[in-house]
């Protein structure tokens, strides 16, 4: 549990951080909250020669409303998401989901940007960002570019972010009135990753689903949308038959990896079950 030696850089601006990344290249890793990277370094699974710590870049923290969009700085911590009145009012799925991530100590350090940029399908924010249809702002030597969250996750630990880029912000459309939402997460214990989890954002027209987006956590090599289930749901009422069919459609696309949390069969079944539960809860909130 002792990492090998490494150099440590603590830039105070994004430009400085991008410059360091360009200069140090592949030997450097970006340090955000550190709750994925540092354990991997302590186990010597990751041995970066240098760390570029973003924690002193104030511009990367905070939640604001700009041009009709909610902008979340990538270094905003989980606890800051939970405490944000703006998010509670405009994107309440995020504070609700953040409460289900790890434990209070981790949430005090862990950041939304680190959680997304790591590209781990077990992390919670990727599926949530996909369900929110968030836009990710990447900053590199040539300035900023924007990538939809739905196109960001290419494989486990593999994203659309280039080696010389830093994830700097997450942009989200505020919820329309009567938008239902839920994040249901099955986990073994506090601090654990999800056995399976589902994020739902939904609107209803009377008793029928008007629009729905479903993001799935830790049931495939990347976070994913349950597109077949989404399409099937539009225009349907959420009765038992519909929910069973949704669960079947979700199970059909899940490709989880077996581990001590469960085998493929269990995780697949739980992906369906978590989706059903998220839909029921989201529907309650549409009223």
């Amino acid at each position: 549990m002792i990492p090998p030696s490494f150099d440590y850089h603590a830039p105070s601006t994004v430009a400085e951080a991008v410059g360091l990344l360009a200069q140090l290249g592949d030997d450097a890793k970006i340090l955000a909250g550190g709750h994925s990277l540092l354990p991997m370094m302590k186990l010597r699974f990751a041995e970066p020669a240098a760390l570029i710590d973003l924690n002193r870049i104030d511009a990367l923290r905070g939640v604001s409303e700009e041009g009709g969009l909610i902008r979340i700085g990538a270094m905003t911590t989980e606890n800051q998401l939970i405490a944000s009145d703006l998010l509670k009012a405009k994107v309440p799925l995020l504070p609700e989901a953040a409460r289900q991530i790890a434990d209070p100590q981790v949430r005090n350090r862990g950041t939304i940007g680190g959680d997304i940029a790591h590209g781990d399908p077990a992390n919670d924010h990727p599926a949530i960002a996909m369900a929110l249809e968030a836009t990710l702002v990447l900053t590199g030597p040539n300035g900023e570019r924007q990538v939809p969250a739905t196109e960001f996750f290419l494989g486990t630990y593999f994203t659309a972010m280039e080696a010389d880029e830093i994830l700097t912000a997450i942009l989200i459309q505020p919820f329309a009135p009567k938008t239902g939402y839920a994040y249901t997460k099955l986990k073994r214990k506090t601090g654990d990753w999800a056995t399976a989890a589902a994020a739902v954002v939904m609107t209803m027209d009377g008793e029928r689903v008007a629009s729905v987006r479903i993001g799935l956590t830790n049931v495939a090599p990347t976070a994913m949308r349950a597109s077949d289930a989404e399409q099937f749901l539009v225009g349907k009422s959420l009765d038992a038959v519909t929910l069973d069919e949704v669960a079947r459609l979700v199970r059909a696309v899940a490709e989880p990896a077996a581990d001590l949390r469960g085998d493929e069969e269990y995780k697949t079944a739980m992906a369906g079950e978590m989706t059903k539960r998220a839909l029921r809860q989201a529907a309650e909130r549409c009223r």
Binding site: M1, I2, P4, S5, R44, D103, L186, R188, K189, T190, G191, D192, T195, L260, R261, G262, D263, E265, Y266, A269, M270, E273
Partner: protein
Amino acid sequence: MNAPLKEREQALMGIGESRLRKEDARFIQGKGNYVDDVKMPGMLHMDIVRSPLAHARIKRINKEAALAMPGVHAVLTADDLKPLKLHWMPTLAGDVQAVLADEKVVFQMQEVAIVIADDRYIAADAVEAVEVEYEELPVVINPFDALKPDAPVIREDLAGKTEGAHGARTHHNHIFTWEAGDKSSADAAFANAPVTVKQDMFYPRVHPCPLETCGCVASFDPVRGELTTYITSQAPHVVRTVVSMLSGIPESKVRIISPDIGGGFGNKVGVYPGYVCAIVASIVLGRPVKWVEDRIENLSSTAFARDYHMSGELAATPDGKITGLRVEVVADHGAFDACADPTKFPAGMFHIVSGSYDIPAAHCSVKGVYTNKAPGGVAYRCSFRVTEAVYLIERMVDVLAQKLGIDKAEIRARNFIRKDQFPYTSAFGFEYDSGDYHTALQKVLDAVDYKALRAEQAAKRADPNSPTLMGIGLVTFTEVVGAGPSKMCDILGVGMFDSCEIRVHPTGSAIARMGTITQGQGHQTTYAQIIATELGIPSEVIQVEEGDTSTAPYGLGTYGSRSTPVAGAAIALAARKIHAKARKIAAHLLEVAEGDLEWEVDRFKVRGDDSRFKTMKDISWAAYNQPPEGLEPGLEAVHYYDPPNFTYPFGIYLCVVDIDKATGETKIRRFYALDDCGTRINPMIIDGQIHGGLTEGFAVAMGQLLSFDEQGNIQGNSLMDYFVPTAVETPKWETDYTVTPSPHHPLGAKGVAESPHVGSIPTFTSAIVDALSHLGVTHVDMPHTAYRTWKELKRLGVAQ
């Protein structure tokens, strides 16, 4: 009782008072002093090169690259320890264990070499630089496979050794077969029984996982020839004896100090290779050496618990009266037999397996087996395999109840040892000291309204739309603790007594030094309360010291709930010696005969005359300046207590669970724990102990597991997977008690800390099985994780 008398009594904060823990101020302010807090001038750091393979021959070890690193002082392997004859060491179980792997490795994470360096970081880098070349050997993980004729030979060092420490060895991977009870009478009971039941069950490998891992700081002074070692030990005096025997340093020049210990739960009883290596390194280099294992090392290499494959059988009459018990166990001890049991008992006190029941004929046999897994087999918050025994008998009684269609509370009441049968000698020869099981059971059933719970369960079962399955678990256990009478119990030949030395100072305060060592039990609080009541000295001015072998009297340490039953008795009897001397001094001061005095809370007074008295404070002063003629000055005493018997705490635990049919998650709706630990010294600490023990029991039953793949790779050996509940997962505990004092203990106290662990684990299983019993399920193995429970629900067609 007049008011001032009561006030005086309360001022003492003695037995029966919920005195706040004296230890907590330093712990909650971060002012404790743990082994890893110890820093000594010139101290070096040790790290261990461990085997990545479970079974392999070591072809070659190349230390050159590591030795060439700046700041590295030494790299030692078994070959370096050989000239000192320290490459192997004896275990507490009569086996030997490799200190560093000698020619081959026999479990993953085994100690292969050590590195000593200037700091912890250099040591870790140097570990990576040590090159070890292995030739893989076939691995055997399952003890049944290990006993097959053509199974790989794990212990080549034992070739040709047909006699082990506990009798004949019949196979190269066989360690011992130990039996208790009477086989012929048990067989006879079964031959004629109208009803029999049989159930196989596996109690999986778990780990005590104390918050503080194991470690030490060894410091050999080459000038004085003295060795001082700070160590995470539950038994510092035993460590001193072992270290002296191994090193040849006279015991008088070995000082072992257990400072604050962050939990032990049996994990800190044994002597580990890391300790021996750090001591050797300090002797070789003449400088202090620190070794502290990390969490993965702790879970992977220092002692595990359980790993018992058990098969139980009950014979009974049609109305559920048990007439016979047979138990067979295959015990997986890993690659070395390093169980921590009293020497004569290779399966500990497993023969308490007849439980709280009057069973006329019983027999058990336990077969110890080597596998390619880490050694251990410690009592994880229990008294030497009592947890396994209680699990077996409580499960079997449920199985019998189910077969006969008798309620599980009713069948227990029909088989309990009755109050008037105590002292009761079991078919295995234990003499149960006291108990009143029927009263305690009824108290619990009334408290939870058992009938209403059963009615609710019936309604739930009748409703196909119920999202949950409801189960009610019940356990009525008896423990055997307080090891133990030296005629039966010893560790490496040292009887399992314990000790106390009390010194009362001239101004009336006192210090007590003990052979035990607290790891969180609150000894500094409770021991002082015993002295307060015995001697009339306020507990606030009584210091309790433990853990330093240079100052404390010899004792066997703290594990197996032995502190109160054994050391608690030593305190009371040491205090009574002082009390007797104090009486002489009081008589002298008051100029009356001793027989004219009576003791009243904190003073001797002349019988019938409240105005003529001497307080303990007065007497303490007089003891140092005007003792009666012929009496030596001073006021102190030492007592070594060899208990005449074990103590037998018991409890009645009831648990209500709701299992989610879709996810397999289990919600503990209610847990009601009634404990009878005899006399209660500090009710608040007892409650805390019970809460802690129940939480650990919950962890074991619902989540803890160390499993291995076919190659012998350990699974789940970090806190990411290994289940240590937080406040979020922990259920609400309801506690209750009855008081049935031990007749042979000076205070009537029986010990309590392990009962909740021992008793709760089968209660959870009982509840889970109860929820599924209407579907024909008689047993489900632990841990009852959502995943494993879902698999069972799926098999039964309940889950989709």
